[in-house]
């Protein structure tokens, strides 16, 4: 998998917030179908890195490059990236279907209705399609959150602590779903605090500490006392 063409290339990315350095020269690549866990203590820069790759934040320096055929996108890498923020980024007064339809339109998905139908089926939310998101459980809200990121069938899926608010059963269903996406060729990068999660649901682990990438390799090679 490591020899396949990179779907995502992060090159020497730096980011500061005032005097505080959040990311320092972070570089790595992600290949299609690869499942990568981004680990590190609080404040290590995980969310900042994912936000920069998603285009929601701009780096002070460095580049985020989508596969070699794409031009450099320092600010907005394009819609080939699906982003699942840590907190559900949804409109609680809109229904599940309305949220999906709105974001599909904003993402300029060609066939909005087909994309919405596909995601309702794929995330098993059809029965809840007409319910307002604010009335759904945390687990179902997270599914809608993930569904929105997948509307444009992205090559890369970014998830920021996707299982943080889920119970064990919901976690199992989520990882099953994410595993399927990776099997179908989607490159997945997710951040987590949970060591077991990274050990069991990752082809590769990236470890961040104080904004520096201190490890990149298989879970088996990782020093978990880190």
């Amino acid at each position: 998998m490591g020899h396949a063409a990179a779907a995502l290339s992060v090159e020497s990315v730096r980011r500061r917030f005032g005097d505080r350095v959040a990311l320092q020269d972070v570089s790595f690549e992600l290949v299609p179908g690869e499942l990568v866990a981004l680990i590190g203590p609080n404040g290590a820069g995980k969310t900042t890195l994912l936000s920069i790759i998603a285009g929601a934040l701009s780096p002070n320096d460095g580049h985020v490059r989508l596969n070699p055929s794409q031009p450099t996108h320092p600010h907005h890498p394009g819609r080939s990236i699906g982003w699942v923020p840590q907190q559900p980024a949804l409109y609680s007064k809109l229904t599940v279907a309305e949220n999906l339809r709105l974001f599909a339109r904003l993402e300029r998905v060609e066939d909005v209705d087909a994309a919405v139908e596909r995601m309702l089926d794929q995330t098993d939310l059809r029965a809840r399609a007409a319910e307002q998101v604010g009335r759904l459980s945390g687990g179902n809200q997270q599914r809608v959150n993930v569904a929105i990121a997948l509307l444009s069938a992205p090559e890369i899926l970014l998830l920021d602590e996707p299982s943080a608010s889920l119970d064990p059963r919901q976690r199992a269903r989520l990882w099953e779903f994410i595993g399927q996406l990776a099997d179908e060729g989607t490159g997945v990068l997710y951040s987590t605090h949970d060591v077991l999660e990274a050990q069991h649901h990752a082809d590769r682990v990236l470890a961040l500490d104080h904004g520096r990438l201190v490890f990149s390799g298989s879970p088996a090679d990782m020093d978990w006392s880190f």
Binding site: F17, S51, A54, G55, A56, L57, H76, P77, G78, R79, I81, W83, P85, Q87, P88, A89, L90, Y91, S92, K93, L94, E98, L102, F103, R105, L106, E107, Q132, I148
Partner: protein
């Protein structure tokens, strides 16, 4: 942007309590502020005890009579009188809060005035007892009573002066006076001078009496000249000032129409500020903000959408309310296109201010609170006439009123409603500049706080 606008309208439709509050609150506040500022003050309740018996309220001097009861009736029209049976009852009414003040007129007030006029000695006194619970009410009632008492004083002064002038004229030209039922002929200075001058002529220059009589003639000449000038001057003292009122710009906004303009601008301000600030903050409190900005929408588009949303919601609502009020207050329907223009541009400026506020806030409640905190003093300061405060403070208030959209919005809307000065062009330009400035500030705030 269209889909975001549609989304926000759908969210508002599903928030009936929020929309109801957003509609009712500013509508009530706007109408109340408008009419409170333009209505004349209410009539304060005053307990009145008058010891003067009915039919004994006439002050007589010279040949003139002055009925003090006429001025009492004027006083009764400017207050809500509560008749008291005694001075103690009048004071009790004030103590109990039934009346804001008491006016106690002693039984012998007419005699006191009469004596003062005849002898120049005395100090006719009426007593005013004021409630000290509310300083504003106290000042109001004191003003109302003092104005009427001043009217009586001025009337008596005029009558006294009129009598004095009449008497002087009698001394000058002569005539008849009635004294204790007897008619007396007064010779007068002019006739006296004529008689003495004739005597001087008939005596001839060699008479020993001639020099003395010529001195009398000279004195009479001086006195006649002096009194001829003094009479009209004294007559003028009774009404020394005449007010000649001129309005520089010809027409000014009628008070009631101005009240409607205030109500409309308050309404517009609340709805636009709260909507623009709240709905922008909602994007962050729903965590959608970063997702939207990850390539779906540009920050400029997001701000424009919120401004449009606020204008689209507030403009028709304000127009409808203004149209309804116009059934009771005359507004110039021939200028309705200017109503729309003035309200639309004002809504634009307020909305731009709203997104600047919303860009600073993380959630809806903070944004709404900030919008309230800004809008209330902004409206208040813009409505304070700069002439009623001291120089330095007036400058500060004027600067604040210049920075925020309330005052230019009020000028533009008042002009649009009635077509009176000041013109509409400058306020509209002012509002457009403010809209651009606040939009730029909102964009900067969004960039500054987006990372947090």
């Amino acid at each position: 942007m269209f889909w975001l606008l549609l989304k926000d309208l759908r969210i508002l439709r599903r928030s009936p309590v929020l929309v109801g509050t957003l509609v009712l609150y500013p509508a009530i506040i706007g109408v109340l502020i408008g009419f409170a500022l333009s209505s004349p003050p209410g009539k304060p309740k005053v307990a009145i005890y008058s010891g003067v018996p009915t039919g004994h309220s006439v002050v007589a001097f010279g040949g003139e009579k002055l009925d003090v009861a006429t001025y009492a009736r004027d006083l009764y029209r400017s207050v809500t009188p509560i008749r008291a049976s005694s001075p103690a009852a009048a004071v009790a009414d004030v103590r109990s809060g039934r009346a804001l003040a008491a006016l106690i007129i002693p039984t012998d007030i007419v005699g006191q005035i009469q004596d003062l006029i005849r002898t120049g000695v005395g100090d006719p006194t009426v007593q005013i007892v004021l409630n000290d619970r509310n300083p504003l009410e106290r000042d109001l009632v004191q003003q109302a009573i003092q104005t009427r008492v001043d009217d009586v004083q001025a009337a008596i002064t005029r009558q006294v002066l009129k009598t004095v002038v009449g008497d002087l004229r009698l001394v000058l030209t002569g005539g008849t006076i009635n004294l204790l039922g007897h008619t007396l002929n007064l010779l007068g200075l002019e006739n006296t001078r004529t008689i003495v001058a004739s005597a001087v002529d008939s005596l001839g220059p060699k008479s020993q009496l001639t020099p003395a009589l010529q001195q009398v003639v000279k004195f009479a000449d001086l006195a006649i000249d002096g009194l001829a000038i003094a009479g009209p001057q004294i007559d003028q003292v009774g009404t020394p000032l005449t007010v000649d009122q001129t309005q520089l710009s010809g027409k000014t906004t009628p008070t009631a129409s101005y009240a409607v303009a205030i109500a409309a601008v308050v309404l517009l301000m609340f709805v636009t500020l709260l909507l623009a600030a709240g709905m922008l903050a909602l994007e962050r409190s729903e965590n959608a903000y970063r997702r939207l900005l990850s390539g779906m929408v540009r920050p400029d588009e997001l701000l424009t959408e919120k401004v449009l949303l606020a204008v689209v919601c507030a403009l028709p609502f304000t127009l409808v309310i203004s149209a309804v009020i116009s059934a009771f207050v005359p507004l110039d329907w021939g200028r309705v296109e200017l109503w729309v223009l003035a309200l639309a541009v004002a809504a634009l400026a307020f909305s731009a201010l709203g997104v600047a506020v919303g860009a600073l806030a993380r959630d809806v409640s903070v944004a709404s609170l900030l919008a309230f905190l800004i809008s209330l003093p902004v409206a208040f300061i813009a409505l304070v006439p700069s002439t009623v405060v001291s120089g330095g403070l007036a400058t500060v208030l004027n600067v604040i009123a210049f920075i925020f959209p309330f005052r230019p919005a009020l000028e533009a809307v008042a002009n649009a409603f009635t077509g009176v000065s000041p013109g509409i062009g400058l306020p509209l330009l002012h509002l457009l500049v403010q809209a651009v400035v606040f939009a730029v500030l909102a964009r900067l705030a969004l960039a500054r706080f987006a990372d947090r």
